[in-house]
Structures are given as structure tokens and as C-alpha cells.
Amino acid sequence: MKRACNAAVFLVIACLAAPAGAAPMDDAAAALRRGDYATALKVIRPLAEQGNAMAQFNLGVSYDQGWGVPQDAAEALKWYRLAADQGYSLAQQNLGDIYSSGRGVPQDFAQALKWYRLAADQGNAFAQNNLGLMHEKGQGVPQDIVRAHLWFNLSGAQGHEQGLKNRDRAGASMTREQIAEAQKLARGWKPAGK
């Protein structure tokens, strides 16, 4: 479930359906499955305005994709930010994507790094892989192949294909000592708040 949700950041349905017992969100998820964005947004928007992080994330996706609303990067950013500030890992991941690609905002690796890191610390495999790439390329941080390997390794351990490929690719140019150090870091890693 978690992987499916991570794998399709812009598939609101899977993520909406996730928590049990949230009846209004179930209605919204059902509407989304029918492609009825207007009805879904009627449920999502008030919840988002009341501070529900999942609703804020989904409203952000709606503006990001132009689903049921005109596409609006500034509104997407605003709602992602509200959800991300509450620790919602998918919103943090999408903020990382927005800042690293400069989609609708000036490209900002420091911001991208910050949001990917927060999501990665929670165990988000996509964010872990992207954080690994930033360490590998030295974007927003000093270039560090050991830390790149650490994040690729953690991502790959969750079955993230790209993480596995990147780990092996990075590993091929590393010394045994560097790999040993990276694996030691991975062994000591614990998801935040656990």
C-alpha cells in the first residue's frame, strides 16, 4: 500500500483510500475513481482548509495537475507546503521535486535537499533515491559518494528499482572501504520518530 502510494505521487486515489475510517475521504476517493474531480474537490477543499494534511496534499496535486481546477503552480506549492509542514511525506517529496526541477519556482537545490531529506528520514523510498542523487552530484551539499550510497541502499532495500540500480552504479566506482562505511551508516539508520 505504502509503496503503491509512493510510486504514484500524482495518483491521488491510492493515497486517499489509505486511512481507514475517514468517511468523507472515502467519498472523495470514490468520486476520484469516477474521474469526478469537482465532487472530490467539494470534499477535499473544506478538509484542507480545516488543516487535514492528506486533503492539503491532494488539493496540491489537483492544482499541480489541473484536475478539476485550473493548473496553478503557486496554489500547488501553497497546499503542498501546508501538508509538508505537518510532516506529510508525499507532500515533502513533491516539494523536493518542484524545487529540484524548478517547476513553477526558481530552481533551489537547498530547498529541494531540505524537503527530500525530511521525506527520506521518514522512509520515503523515492525521496531517498533523489537525495542520493543530490549527494552524488553535489547539488545543495558537498559531493559525497558514501552518503549517496547510503540513501540509494535504503531506497533499494524497499524495492525501489532506481535505488537499487543507482546503488550498484555508485558502488562500482567506490572502494571497499567506502562501501563498508556506507553500509555501516545504513545499518545504523532508523526512520524518524520510530
Binding site: 541502499n153 535504503l154 533499494g156 532495500a157 524497499q158 524495492g159 537499487l164 546503488r167 571497499r176 572501504e177 562501501i179 563498508a180 553500509q183 545504513a186 545499518r187 539508520w189
Partner: protein
């Protein structure tokens, strides 16, 4: 023994939850290969671990492979070497081959640490033995 994979899995799961070691190993294999369940090395590692902790040699080999490859667990040559070592001492000959193939990719420090972990390892007693 039930014929279909899904049926067998139900039996094994019931037994595994009672602490049956071979059943725990079999569930690990089912997840590892995606037989009757969606393939998940993450789940496979959890079930292998339960059996490996009690000294199941083949579970130790398979868990070692997951650590060697970093499938379902973070890649960790120290843990992989340790599990191959333990399995080898339990008579699994393939573990010796795996361990020898792994060693050249490790630092001496990692091998020393793996040897230390092997010496310190103690099997977890199966629940039946504890109940007596």
C-alpha cells in the same frame, strides 16, 4: 498437504504464527518468489529471519543472500557474511560458496566484525521448548 500454493500458504501461515520454524521458512520462500502472494523481499526477509534466528540453515543462507544483494533489507556484507558463516556451520554447503564469493568485496574490518557477530550469535529458542 494441500495442493495449490494459496492453500499451502494458509496452512503454513497458521503453523508459522504458532512458531513452526519450517513453516516460517516456507512463507519466506513464498514471498521471495511471489508464489501465492505478491513478491516481496521485504516480507521474505522478515520470515527468513524468524527461522534463521532459530538455526534453520536454509533460511540463514537465503537471508544472507538478501543482505548480500540488498533486496528487502539494506545491503550489508557484514550481516550477509555472518549468516553464511552460521549456515555453513549448520552444514549448508552453498553457504561456503556464497561466503567465499562475498569475501573479496569486503574489507578486513568487515570480515573481522562478521566473525565477531558469528561468535556472539545465540539461537532463539523455539516457543515449544520455552513452553515446557
Amino acid at each position: 498437504m494441500p495442493r495449490s500454493g494459496a492453500e499451502a500458504l494458509k496452512w503454513w501461515r497458521a503453523a508459522a504464527e504458532q512458531g513452526d520454524t519450517p513453516a516460517q521458512f516456507n512463507i519466506g520462500v513464498a514471498y521471495d518468489n511471489g508464489q501465492g502472494v505478491p513478491r516481496s523481499q521485504n516480507e521474505a526477509a522478515k520470515w527468513y529471519r524468524l527461522a534463521a534466528d532459530k538455526g534453520h540453515a536454509q533460511a540463514q543462507v537465503n537471508l544472507g543472500v538478501l543482505y548480500d544483494q540488498g533486496n528487502g533489507v539494506p545491503q550489508d556484507f557484514v550481516y550477509a557474511y555472518m549468516w553464511f558463516n552460521l549456515a555453513a556451520s549448520n552444514g549448508a554447503r552453498v553457504a561456503i560458496k556464497n561466503r567465499d564469493a562475498l569475501a573479496p568485496r569486503m574489507t578486513q574490518g568487515q570480515i573481522d566484525e562478521a566473525q565477531k557477530f558469528t561468535r556472539e550469535w545465540k539461537p532463539v529458542a523455539p516457543p515449544a521448548a520455552q513452553a515446557q
